[in-house]
Every structure is written in C-alpha cells, then in structure tokens.
Symmetry: C2
Subunit: 660 residues, 2 copies
C-alpha cells in the first residue's frame, strides 16, 4: 500500500476526533485517497466505545461508516460488542432495556448504510427455551438492511472475562459466518473464537476450534476477527505468535480488529493488524490511539506501525523474574495514561487532587496525572506532619514546579493534634469497658494518613469535577501496608498494579523519556521508601517500609511468582530468588530460615490484607495478573488458607489430634 494513504488518513482521524474538516478539504482528501487505495480494501475501525452508552456509540459509528462509504471501501469492521461498549459487567442482566435499545440502534444504523458493508458487534436476545439470555453477536449491515448475523461460540470466563455469565454459546454455524466483501469471501470469528488452536496451545479451554471448522468447511479468502482484547504484560507476544501460527496453518490471512481505550480497570491497546497466509504480519495499527485504518488482505505491502518500544522484545525473555523492568515500561506508561484519561473523560471528571509526600508513589502518580489530564488540572498538596522531613517537603515542591502542576502546602498538625486528643479522650472512656487497648499501635500513623485523605476529599467536594487520587502501589497492597480512608482512599488508583521495584524503574524511565527531562528529583528515586508516619525506635529515624516488611526485591519476586507461576511457599523454598543471588554476591547470604520467615510473613500479611482489597477504588490492570477486583476475587474469610504443603503423615497425625 502506498505510504501516502496513511498520511492522508491522519486527516480522517483528526476529523473523527474533532469534526474540524470543511466540506472542501474533505472532498480533496477523499479524491486523493480514492486514487491511492487499491480495490478490495477495507477499514478497520479501531475505536473507543463507552460502556453502556449505546446512543453515543451508534452516533460515533455512523461518522466512521460515512468515511468508509466516501472512500468506496468494501467494508468497515468494528470491534466485538461495540454498540453496548465492552466491558458490559452485569448491566445487560439487570437492564434488558439496554439490549433492546442496542438492537434498535443497530437497525437505525443499518438503515443509513449503502454500499460499504458494516461489520459491527452487538448483543442479541436468545429466544430459545434453553440457554442464557443473550448472544454475543456481530451484524453485517448493507444497503439499509441487516444482511447477516454471526454468533460467538467460545465464551471466555477467566480473569476479567465474564462472557459466559450472560451469553449463550452458539454452534459454529460456518455458513452464517461467511460474508462477501467486495470480490472476496470473508469468514467472521469473534475474539475468543480465534484463541483455541489445538496445535498452538498445550492445553485448550474448549473442545471446538471455530477457526478450524470455518476454514475447513467454507474456505474463506480471509478471516475477520472482531475483538475486545485487553493489554497485559506478556500478552502481545502470545497474541502475535498465535495469530501468525493460525494464519499460516490455515493458509488464510487474518484481519484482526481490536478496540482501543479504557473502561474502569481494563485497558485496550488497539494495535489491530493483518497477517497474510504465510503468517507474516503485513499491517498493524497504532497502539493506544483511535485509528481509521485502511488495509487490504491481498496487498502485502502494508503499513506496520511500531508497538510501544521494547514491548515485543520483553516478553519472550521474561520467563523469570527480573529487576530489568525497562522493556515493559513504555506499555505500562501508555496503558495507565489511557486509563486515567478515559476514566476521567468518560465519567465527566476534569481535575485531580493528590497528596505529595515527596515519596515515590505520590511522585509517579503526579507525573502520570499531569501527562494524562494536563498539568493545569492537577493539584498536588504537600501535607506535612511533625515527622515529615524538610527534604521530603522540598522534593514535593520541586516536583510540582518541574511538572508545572498546581501546588499548596497545608500542614496537618492542627487536624492531627485535635483528632489525636479527641481520640485519646474517646480511648480513655472506652478502655473502662474494654480492657484490650493496645499499648503501641498504628492509630497515630493512621490519623495522619486519614487527615490527609480528609483534605483531599474535601477539595474534591468543593471544586467542580475533581477526583482525589489513591497512590497505593501493588507491593504495598499485597502487604496491606496502606491506610483505609488514608493513602488507600481515592476515586482512582493509578499505581495499584505496579510493584515497587517497577515503580523505581518507571521513575527513571520517565526522567529519561518525557519531553521535560528529569522532572522527578533524583533524591526521590534515591530515597528508601517509608511512609513517614512513625519513628523506628531502633534507629530513631522514620520507619522504612523495608524494615516493616521485607526487602522490596524479595517481596516483588514473591508477588511475581504468585501471579505468574501460582507458586506456594513450598515451591518458592525450592528455588533461588534473585535477591538471594545478589546477597550471596555481597557475601551476606539469606538463610533458609530468614527466607521462610519472609514467605510466611508475606502470606500472613496478604491474608489480612484481603479485606483492604475489597475497598480499593478502580485501578488500571497492567500486569499479567493482579489483585484488582475486576479480575481477581478472594473471600475475606479465606484468611486461614495454608500456602505451604504438609505431608500425608503430618495430616494423619493432625487428624488424630482431633480437636482444632
């Protein structure tokens, strides 16, 4: 394809975003493009829907359709469930009116179509006596009518996926999946339908491969996959390998259409693409951007936009835990950025307020917010207590200056003192009845964190469209090292799926790769993390997080092993951790006792942190697995799980000592 097509198409993207094109410019653009686009081309609508906003999604779709029509393209292809706006949660169950309306809007949209076929995801009622309420379907619209409907067969129900909750699985029905597109015969599959190749996967979730059936029975010229596939660490590599394998195996090109944008906790990266019949990638759209992407399955000279830097490289290599987070940082940055941007814009928020402690978490949060919603819309508030060091205060101020965000210093001393004295008054009354007062406790630490949150929520109440930000990171959430109604509290938590060692790497990466270099003061990155809420009696200095927990390098590897390898304490005792290797090199080897202690501490703290997880605000999922509510749930009462194996003999003995 002529490279010029993509330059010109940028005008279309701009117009779709801003509706800024005059009729004349539009006409010019159309004429230039029409000369360049080869016969048999189609548009991939790499588009950002809003969950539940059927009207808005339909109106937006029509503008994309009209562009495809103007250019005389054979078809324009939208993502899975586009009209409802993926993900749908459970609203289709509670509010069938949304599904009724999505069908009516589909009909209205169909009545506006002409020669360009519109291939678009929607939800359909299942009218049979047996099965779930709906089908996850794709409609083909043409010449004012709904020409054809394809129903999804494979319904994922793991991690963030919940298709099987509301949708009935359809038999493959290969005949219905065939649609003529120009002179070609295309075969349609819907997302997961394309993810069950028996030769590619070692284990398969489902007993049928719709792609195999469709190709064998109908021999389509190419396959179309309408998807809504989220970004996850390691997923791009898998996706690429699988789609390439499938295209090659079936000697059939694949046009893979993905949605873009974020919805609450899920981030879709776009990067729609085409593989030819040899499994070679011949087209790839932009990542993390809407794009009207013109492709042609018969023209191998396609445009391949680069993936975020390093993405592909990482993922084959990262089969073991590594402190080299670099290869995944650009993806991490872009997907959190998109999540913040879409959470704010889709919910009508404009401003963010956060506490700036001078520590790593609030610092990185501030940078991400400034980049996502604009520095002028971010207010950083330094809220020092008597424990806060001058260095921390200065770091906060310097950061704000470097970022150009708004800044104020509001000491919490008075609030803290009043609350503390009020509470002490309460405690002395209470201890007359309850003889179980702690001598030492986190009470005072927490009053500080909660006073700060009270200020942030107050600002959010008082200023229009303003959301307070929770700055907790993933390592701390696993440890429950976060204060309820304190630093854990906010309307959105950008860092909740980023571990501490990765956050350090991200801070350095931001300093190097943002337009404004070194916005993050070096001292913030060099400082060892600590909440500055309490004094360590041993050192007389503010308690460091690693003193209260365990070395972050060790902690993050435990998390990585839990999420990626599903390992138990027993498994982890048998392998050498990166931290152990490092300490051995420094001639301070970690003993097995120490390792076991840390592992037990990890799982004990995690078990008591379970209820904190239930209280976390929405947060972007970034890693391969997370503790985000929208993909992982663990009952709070499951705190007695034993994460270490015991032998059969120990069990027998335990059973004989009968009473628990």
């Amino acid at each position: 394809m002529n490279e010029k097509i993509y330059e010109l198409a940028e005008i279309i993207d701009e117009d779709l975003k801003k509706n800024n094109l005059s009729d004349t410019s539009r006409q010019e653009c159309v004429e230039s493009l029409k000369k360049l686009i080869p016969e048999g081309s189609v548009a991939i609508a790499q588009i950002n829907p809003t969950s539940g906003d059927v009207r808005g999604n339909a109106k937006k779709a029509l503008r994309w359709v009209e562009w495809a029509e103007r250019l005389g393209l054979d078809a324009i292809i939208f993502p899975e469930l586009y009209l409802l706006g993926y993900p749908i949660g459970d609203f289709v169950d509670r509010f069938p009116v949304v599904v009724e309306e999505n069908i009516e809007w589909l009909k209205a949209l169909a009545s506006c179509t002409k020669n360009t076929k519109v291939i678009i995801g929607f939800a359909e009622f299942n009218k049979n006596k047996v099965g779930k309420k709906y089908y996850n379907s794709v409609a083909v619209l043409n010449n004012g009518k709904i020409e054809n409907v394809v129903r999804k067969t494979l319904l994922p129900n793991y991690a963030e996926f919940n298709d099987y909750r509301h949708f009935e699985s359809s038999p493959v029905n290969s005949k219905d999946r065939i649609v003529s597109v120009g002179k070609s015969k295309a075969g349609i599959v819907v997302c997961e339908d394309g993810w069950n190749d028996f030769d590619f996967f070692e284990k398969n979730l489902y007993s049928v491969d719709p792609v195999e059936v469709l190709v064998k029975e109908r021999h389509p010229d190419y396959l179309i996959n309408c998807s809504a596939s989220v970004t996850r660490a390691k997923k791009e590599q898998l996706k690429h390998n699988m789609l390439s394998f499938s295209a090659k195996k079936h000697k059939t090109p694949i046009v893979y259409v993905n949605q873009v944008g974020s919805s609450d906790c899920l981030s879709f990266e776009g990067a729609s693409r085409v593989y030819d019949e040899n499994g070679d990638l011949i087209y790839r759209a932009k990542s993390y951007e809407e794009q009207f992407f013109i492709v042609n399955a018969n023209d191998k000279q396609g445009k391949i936009y680069p993936l975020p830097k390093g993405l592909e490289k990482t993922l084959t290599e990262q089969k073991a835990f590594s402190l080299d987070h670099e290869p995944d940082l650009e993806r991490t940055y872009l997907s959190v950025l998109q999540s913040i941007r879409d959470y704010f814009s889709k919910n009508g928020f404009k401003r963010a307020v956060l506490g700036l402690s001078g520590g790593l978490d609030s610092t990185v949060s501030a940078v991400l917010l400034a980049d996502a919603i604009g520095a002028e819309n971010v207010f950083g508030i330094s809220m020092p207590s008597s424990i806060t060091s001058t260095e921390s205060k200065n770091d906060a101020k310097e950061l704000a200056r470097n970022l150009g965000i708004n800044f104020a210093e509001i000491p919490i001393k008075d609030m803290f003192d009043t609350a503390k004295s009020e509470l002490n008054n309460a405690f002395s009354k209470i201890e007359k009845s309850w003889n179980c007062r702690f001598k030492e406790s986190f009470t005072n630490d927490n009053i500080q964190a909660r006073s700060r949150a009270m200020i942030l929520w107050g600002v959010a109440n008082e200023f229009q469209s303003c959301l307070p930000i929770a700055t907790s990171d993933k390592s701390e959430l696993y440890m429950g090292y976060a204060t309820i109604n304190g630093d854990m509290s906010g309307g959105f938590a950008p860092l909740a799926d980023i571990s501490k060692t990765k956050l350090f790497a991200l801070a350095r990466w931001l300093n190097k790769n943002r337009k404004t270099k070194n916005a993050i003061p070096e001292s913030v990155i060099k400082k060892r993390p600590g909440a500055e809420l309490a004094i360590n009696p041993k050192t007389g200095k503010p308690l460091l997080a690693e003193e209260a927990l365990m070395p972050y390098e060790f902690l993050d590897e435990v998390i990585w092993r839990v999420e990626n390898l599903q390992q138990s304490i027993t498994d982890m005792l048998e392998v050498e951790f990166l931290y152990e290797i490092h300490m051995k090199e420094q001639r301070e080897p970690v003993s097995q006792e120490q390792k076991l202690k840390w592992l037990q501490k990890f799982f004990k703290r995690m078990s008591t942190a379970l209820y904190k997880w239930t209280l976390m605000p929405p947060a972007p999922i970034v890693d391969a697995r997370s503790v985000n509510k929208s993909e992982y749930n663990q009952p709070v009462v499951s705190s007695k799980i034993n994460y270490k194996k015991t032998s059969f003999e120990e069990k027998l003995e335990d059973l004989k000592s009968k009473y628990v």
Copy 2:
C-alpha cells in the same frame, strides 16, 4: 422416625460444637440412639465450612464422621465443595496448592473411614488436555479408601455463582453417580445438577437434565443432592416447589443436603430436607444452625423443623411490591445475624464499634450487632455536631441503655472546626488556580461524616479485634446518599441490602420479637430520616432525606422493580406504583411529570453512585437481587446508559443530527 431421636441428637450437636461430652455420656447417647434409629438411616451433615481452611474443614468433618460411625449409620453426607469451603472466589486459580492439599486431606480423611460411607464435596484436577483446571466433585469414602467420585455437570455462573470460571462440566456419566448406601442404591447429583427440570421451568439454562438422565438410566432408590445454596428472598418457595416437583415426577425420594453459615456476603440457611417419591416433604433440618440430622428416605414419619416464621407464606404472595415486609423479616434478621457472626468469627474479630446517631440505620445496626456478637462486645458512640438535636442524642443514649451495649458520647465539634478551618485555608489557596469552587456544597456535611468515621477507625485501630461498622442502607446506596470515608465506611455493612421501608418494618419487628421488648425508642421509628448533616434553607430544620431524594415508598418500589422485574423507566411509567395509589386515596395524586422526574432522578443518582458501590465493604446479601459486588458489577463508566426507550424515528433523527 421416633421424635426422641432428635432430642438425643441435640447432644451430638452440642458435642460437635463444644466437645463437651464425657466418654460415658457419649456411650449412653450412642446406645439410646442405636435402639431408635431404623435401618437404612443416614446423617445429613448440615455444616458450616470456612472458605479455604481445608485443614480445619477436614478436621471438623472427621468428628462428624465419627459420630455417624458410632451410630452405625449407612452414610453421612456433606455439602458441595465442603473441603475447600464454598464459596471459593478465585483462590483455586491463583493457589493450586489449596486444591492439591484438599485432595491430600481427602485421602487422609478416607484412610480414617470404616463402614459408614462418607459422601463429601471437594475439588479435583482435570487432567485432560481440554477444559478448565478443575472439576467440582463429590467423593464417596469407605473402608479407608476413596470408593467413587461424582463430577458436577451443570455449572452456574449467574449472580453470586462463578462455577464455570474454574470448573469443567462433566458429562452426566450416570453409572459413576450410583453409590450403594446400606441396602439402597442412591444416585448423586451436585447442587445445580438438580435445577434444570424441563417441565418445571419455563426457560432452562442448560440443555441437559442430569436428574432425568440419572433416573432413566439407573433407577436409583433415592437421589442425594449435595448443595451450597444461599438464602435469598423468594428462593425457599422456588426451591421447595422444584424439589417436590422433581421427586414426584421421577417417583424418587430426594435427600437434599445444604451447607449453613456465612462467607463474606453470602448466607446459607441450611434447612436440608428429604422429599418422598410423592413429592411430599418428610424431613427438614433447622435453619441457620449446624445440625447432625438423621434421616431415612424409606421412613416417611420424619422430623420437619419449622422454617423461620412466615417465610413460606410470603413468597407465593409477594409477586408485587408491598410495604408489608413482615413475612420476610425473621429470615432477614436471621441471615444478617449469621452473616455478622460468621464474618467476625471466621476473621478473628470480636468487637464492633459504631456511631449512634439516633437515626434508624445506626439503631437497627446496633441491635443486630448486639444480638450477633453480644452486647458487651459492641461500643456505640454518639458523635454529635452542632446540628444534632437533643432528641437524637437522647435516643442514642436510650437505645444503648436498652440494649446493654457500651456507650460514650464524643462530640466532634473540635475536629469539625479544625478540619473546616484547615480546609477553608486550603480552598482559598486552591481557588487562586482553580476558578471552579462551589458556592454551596456538601463539603461541610461530609467533614462531619468523615470526622465520625475517623473516630471509629481510630477505636478499631486502638482496641484488639475490633471492627468499625458501616451503617448505610440499600435505599441510600442506590441514591449515592452516603459519604465516602464517612457513614459508608467500615469493615462490614450489615444493612446494605435492606431498603428503608423494610428497615422501618424490621425495627418494629425487633421491638416486638426480641427477648427485650421495645429496645428501640419509639421516637427513632417515628422520626422521618435525615442525616442531620445540613440545614434545609426552606424549613430552617435539618434536611430530611426524602426532601433531598424522593418519598421512600416510591424509591423502594423503583428499586424493587429494577431488581425483581428488570424494568426500565418506560416500563415503570406504564404501571401504577403503590405510592401513587396511596396518594390518590389521600387526594394528592402524583402527576406523570412528577413521576417521570423522580424516575429520572433515580437513574441519574444511581449512575453517579456506581463508583461508591465499588468502595463498599462486605455486606450480607438478603434480597432476591442486590448491588453487592459479589453478585452485581456495573462498570463505573457506564454512567451514560439511557434507561428510557426512544422510538425508532427519534433514533433516526438523532443519527442524522450527526455530532454528539
């Protein structure tokens, strides 16, 4: 069966709870019972497992098994997934060690069995190349061995159920489902397997009925259903009708074994039972209590313990919204009580602290807590502000006295004043950059609510095993009429699924039915609800909730219609509400404009409340449907859903006016 069996069996229940029986008394009990129990009897283990505590569950099971063995019963039957402890959330996916361990504990348990067969739920690995990781299975243990394994076929995945996430569906395999129990041939099904009769249901979720297949192919003498079935408004009636229908249709008795107890948000009511081949109920265990329940499918003179008062009656009648909540109040009370009790005991909490405002929510919460964990373990704190009326303060005090709970009054004036002045200081700094400060706002109201929550969380931090309680009710949660980090905040929210009109009824019911009558001051019930956070400028008095929202009678019917009938605004405009009938009678009819305004207000407020729902602590589910996270999820960004239908013509016009 001889009534005396059940008197004697109470000794067993007591022993299983407290391990308080001497060897001699045990021997006596065994001998007396053995004379009375007819041949062919089995025990239903109506037992309360702890989610994830495989060791504890196994050890507990053995004690029950030993009693069955002592009595020479043919079998003892445990609930579904007993060893893992239902519900399992996603921990089996992340921690396969739990499943490995449940298999090892099963083997250890098997090695302790003798002549009494043990039929018990556990999870099994699926070792095939295709399918999900596990099977939801039931093992038959006998003479030291695992004799047989039955795998569940139908995997529910709606509301609180998530079976399909982790389990592979097994073909019915009727042969494997047959187990000889004494001289009988029993056929085993697992929970949902028994809920797909094609003649009973108008619509069916699955295409196979395992009961039908099993009965037709193997002609068992009776069926055993191992279940974990939660209590829900209206569910008992459905369950009874269905099981009765199924037994009669297949001319086969059904022994239905249910678990009891609560896990986070789910409450299981027990009430295990037996139906004979005519569909007649011949045995029913207690509700909301563990019970070693001896039954005999061939002896029709069984023991039928009563259900909580009125339960059965309600549910056939309640096909329309009614303000007569009475028939469901005992069940509501018992299931919330059990939820509180188990949440506390399974998590190791002992004490609760809550704010006592003198309002309905905190009052009812206090009563439920006192009854669930003991008055001495509850601390009620009155935290008056300048708006709080003397009456409210006195009501709080009187309630505490009546309940015998601990009480203190801690005015929040100083905290409020300091926070307010600190915040005003912050606001004036911020408004220099952000020209969007609200003239009037909820800021001050929220500072009050948050100061109170700060005190409660402080108490929870300072005193051992103490949990603060969130008192928000269901009507207010739908309206987002609750303060984040304020009254919405706590470790558990007992009322989150009880609507306001039902709460009033529950308060009256508690006054009438508790041992101590009229513990709730009449003035609390008579008072019209209001948070006493702000003054209504029109009346000069504290703002009433109904002034800020809409009449509770109307609001609760909207909620009821959404949850039970899945109605849209359009549907609701077409029916007459109870409130409309009442107002007509009072000659103050509600206009359609007013009704539409309230409906639109409802959905608008609900849409902006979605993000508050994500922050709610665990809370018992009581109604047929709820907004509890463990059964309902709606993306926060889906706030633009249109809950009112528009016509096709309006849609076409809307599409033509192209730009959103």
